[in-house]
């Protein structure tokens, strides 16, 4: 293999990408060496099994991926700003929209939400860590290395270019030779291990490690949405795993599952992909609903309206999510009867979703709303998401879908649900729980600027796209005709305003890191209702010195009334903690190596990597590390410092 087959050559933009990767890597290495931080990096972060630190690493990675996916989006919008632009050629445009979609869903939305779940769910249920802390580290590193593998593709080997849905037969080896699609298949496969493991881990944590007295119907609503999400993950992700494996075998070993020749069924890929893909969109929306519910209850200073119907709605949405997948390919030709069945199930989803919308409105009704930044994101979510939902019902009617499908109407619809739904929730959740993660709040003034720019940019970017779609503009075309110029140009301006909003948001993080006041209460906003706010800030590594008794879903409100805290000196006992370990990092680094070799079809190297991974699993199987105990004296010292108690207390 020649070097110019290994690296992508001939594109100035990609050369710029290579240079910036090299510069950023060199800067990071220089800074770590200059400040002698290598040991700190390894001991405090790379080997950690602490759910709070793993959550922070998830969120930082997700923000980096949001940047990457966002740059892809801006490149696309630049290309579409003027008729017959020459900024990207057709091949490069295909690669950019493919990586944009894949990164935003798999490597941005999911890890961001999983990061928030990592930090908040154990705190909300009064647990000291996940049920399987080691497995949690394995999950994070598998996601991280999966994301790195996928992101390497644009400089090494060539990016995948068959869309984020990767439809066969286009994605098969006949029509897409080379490593591009292999990067997609193996990057997702590697990250999928982590997602599935996190699903199991969180489910066991929620079912088995709740504080005494916290029955299922007394769990905070974010924990409920997480629990249901884990069910969807556990049942949907194996379908993706199998589909990816089948296509990998097709491409690398020449089988005929999805090929045009040899009795393959190319359309079975679409079928399997969406059997996972539809539950997947609920995996990224249900936790978002949970976050919004928490924020609305907190800043409306009211108990969440219709808690039980909220839970019921989540369960029904989760159940329905497995029986609607065909609405993603109504036009494949399955016939009127099949389409009608799935049209009806699709429209049924609007009912529980509507119940949730009305519950949020009812919670807000006649309440004293406190307009903090997380609340602004949440209030903006409700109408914006509803627009997305209503156009979704339009798309859900199979007969009408023959008009809308594959047009910008669809593009606009799913951005209208995924951005106000998931992205707003990520921002809102991050700002809301930021004090619990970093011990200081984000600057509200900068946060409001970021919010307004992002919100206005969002509507400016995507609202015109509904009309472009109705006007006949197809998705995934790389040049536009002059008749669509005005609306496309507006849309591009909107995209750049969103980008500006993101930059200001990041500026807010850096500004707050330097200037925000540090000494803040455990209940940082002052209106907290659930157990995560009962811990001191910064949170001790064991979370709860003593786990409180819970008897309602607003546990902290009760504790405040009774004057209880999570530091009851009479009940202190040594706390059992898991040891940090470098094994998960090493195991996943080896699997990364194996996957990389498989991408280029270097079978011997891939087998060596797989053997290495199995050896690591054996080492783990016979590893009897029982962890360590935090003694009572140390707990007292930590709590006194965290709660800023004076000596006589």
């Amino acid at each position: 293999m020649q070097l110019d087959e290994f690296f992508v050559t001939g594109e100035p933009l990609i050369y710029a990408g290579m240079v910036s990767i090299a510069l950023v890597s060199a800067t990071v290495i220089f800074l770590l060496t200059y400040f002698k931080r290598w040991k700190w990096l390894w001991q405090d972060w790379l080997t950690t099994v602490d759910h709070k630190k793993i959550g922070i690493m998830y969120i930082l990675s997700a923000l980096a991926m949001l940047f990457r996916g966002g740059v892809d989006a801006l490149m696309m919008r630049t290309q579409l700003a003027f008729p017959d632009m020459n900024f990207l050629n057709s091949q490069h445009y295909n690669e950019v929209f493919t990586t944009h979609g894949t990164i935003m869903i798999i490597f941005m939305a999911m890890p961001f939400l999983i990061g928030l779940m990592n930090i908040i769910v154990p705190l909300q249920i009064g647990a000291r860590d996940f049920a399987f802390p080691y497995l949690n580290a394995v999950s994070f590193w598998s996601f991280f290395f999966g994301a790195m593998l996928f992101n390497l593709s644009f400089v090494i080997g060539g990016a995948p270019d068959a869309g984020w849905t990767n439809y066969a037969p286009l994605a098969g080896s006949e029509l897409s030779p080379g490593p591009g699609i292999n990067f997609y298949l193996l990057g997702l496969q590697l990250a999928g291990i982590g997602t599935l493991a996190t699903g199991i881990n969180l489910m066991v944590t929620i079912l088995r490690m709740r504080a005494p007295g916290m029955t299922l119907m007394k769990m905070p609503i974010f924990t409920w949405s997480t629990l249901i999400t884990t069910f969807i993950i556990i049942f949907a992700f194996p379908i993706l795993t199998v589909a990816l494996a089948l296509m990998t075998i097709d491409r690398i070993f020449g089988s005929h599952f999805f090929t045009l020749t040899g009795e393959g069924l190319p359309m079975m890929w679409a079928n399997l992909f969406w059997m996972w893909g539809h539950p997947e969109v609920y995996i990224v929306i249900l936790p978002a609903f949970g976050i919004f519910s928490e924020i609305i209850a907190t800043f409306a200073q009211k108990q969440l309206f219709g808690y039980k119907t909220m839970v019921g709605a989540i369960v029904i949405i989760a159940g329905l999510s497995f029986v609607v997948w065909v609405h993603h390919f109504f036009t494949m030709g399955a016939g009127a009867f099949v389409n009608s069945v799935f049209s009806i199930t699709t429209m049924m989803i609007a009912i529980p979703t509507g119940v949730k919308i009305f519950n949020w409105l009812a919670t807000l009704y006649k309440s004293k709303i406190i307009f903090t930044t997380p609340m602004l994101w949440t209030l903006a979510f409700i109408p914006s998401f509803t627009i997305g939902g209503v156009t979704g019902v339009m798309l859900g009617m199979a007969a009408a879908d023959y008009q809308y499908h594959n047009s910008y109407f669809l593009v606009s619809h799913f951005h209208y649900v995924l951005i106000p739904g998931t992205v707003f929730a990520c921002f809102a959740g991050l700002i809301f729980w930021y004090p619990k993660m970093f011990g200081h709040k984000l600057n509200e003034r900068i946060g409001k600027w970021a919010f307004w720019l992002f919100l206005i940019g969002f509507h400016l970017c995507f609202f015109p796209q509904y009309f472009l779609g109705l006007d006949g503009m197809a998705r995934r075309i790389f040049t536009v005709g002059p008749e669509w110029f005005t609306l496309n140009f507006l849309s591009t301006i909107g995209a750049f305003v969103m980008g500006l909003g993101f930059i200001i948001f990041v500026h807010g993080i850096i500004y707050s890191f330097r200037f925000s006041p540090r000494d803040i209460e455990g209940d940082s906003w002052g209106y907290g209702r659930t157990l995560e706010w009962a811990t001191p800030t910064p949170i001790p590594k064991y979370n709860f010195a003593t786990v409180p008794e819970v008897d309602s879903h607003d546990a902290l409100i009760d504790m405040k009334e009774k004057g209880e805290t999570t530091f009851d000196r009479s009940k202190l006992k040594p706390i059992h903690m898991p040891s940090y370990t470098g094994q998960p990092f090493i195991m996943m680094a080896i699997l990364f190596f194996a996957s990389f070799a498989l991408v280029f079809e270097w079978i011997t190297l891939a087998v060596i990597g797989l053997i290495g991974a199995i050896v690591m699993m054996f080492i783990r199987s016979f590893d009897y590390d029982e962890g360590y105990h935090v003694e009572v004296d140390e707990i007292i010292e930590t709590e006194r410092k965290a709660r800023r108690m004076t000596d006589d207390e």
Binding site: M268, N271, M275, V326, V338, V341
Partner: protein, 125 residues
């Protein structure tokens, strides 16, 4: 955590070896056994049932009576999802099975058969 892991995990190692062996036998049956298609399908199905039993008994603690009925709950859901995947795929892809693949005798008369198939599947939901 109360119980020390002093015992050598012999059960798990036997289970691991057995499941790998079954997988290899299944791959061999499909690729190079030379059996008629129907027999290959029957063999693979039989191996799958044994495989599932090994997983349930040797790894998934099905015999342990815990505080909850979570395992049965999960198995119920798993069966429902499996039914949706199999029946749903047949229902959705029924149009894809109508043409003759040239090999099987069970594909004949595709149009009407697939229609009946879809009707049945629909009732199954």
């Amino acid at each position: 955590m109360e119980k020390k892991h002093s015992k050598y995990p012999i059960n798990h190692i036997v289970g691991f070896a057995l499941s790998i062996t079954l997988t290899i036998i299944a791959a061999w049956t499909a690729l190079s056994s030379g059996l008629p298609t129907m027999w290959i399908i029957i063999t693979i199905m039989a191996l799958a049932v044994i495989q599932a039993a090994i997983q349930l008994f040797m790894f998934m603690h099905i015999t342990e009576s815990g505080a909850t009925n979570a395992p049965w709950n999960m198995m119920f859901h798993a069966f429902v999802i499996a039914a949706i995947i199999v029946a749903g795929s047949l229902f959705v892809m029924s149009f894809g099975f109508t043409h003759d693949h040239g090999g099987g005798d069970h594909h004949e008369g595709g149009g009407s058969e697939s229609h009946e198939e879809s009707q049945e599947d629909h009732e199954g939901h």
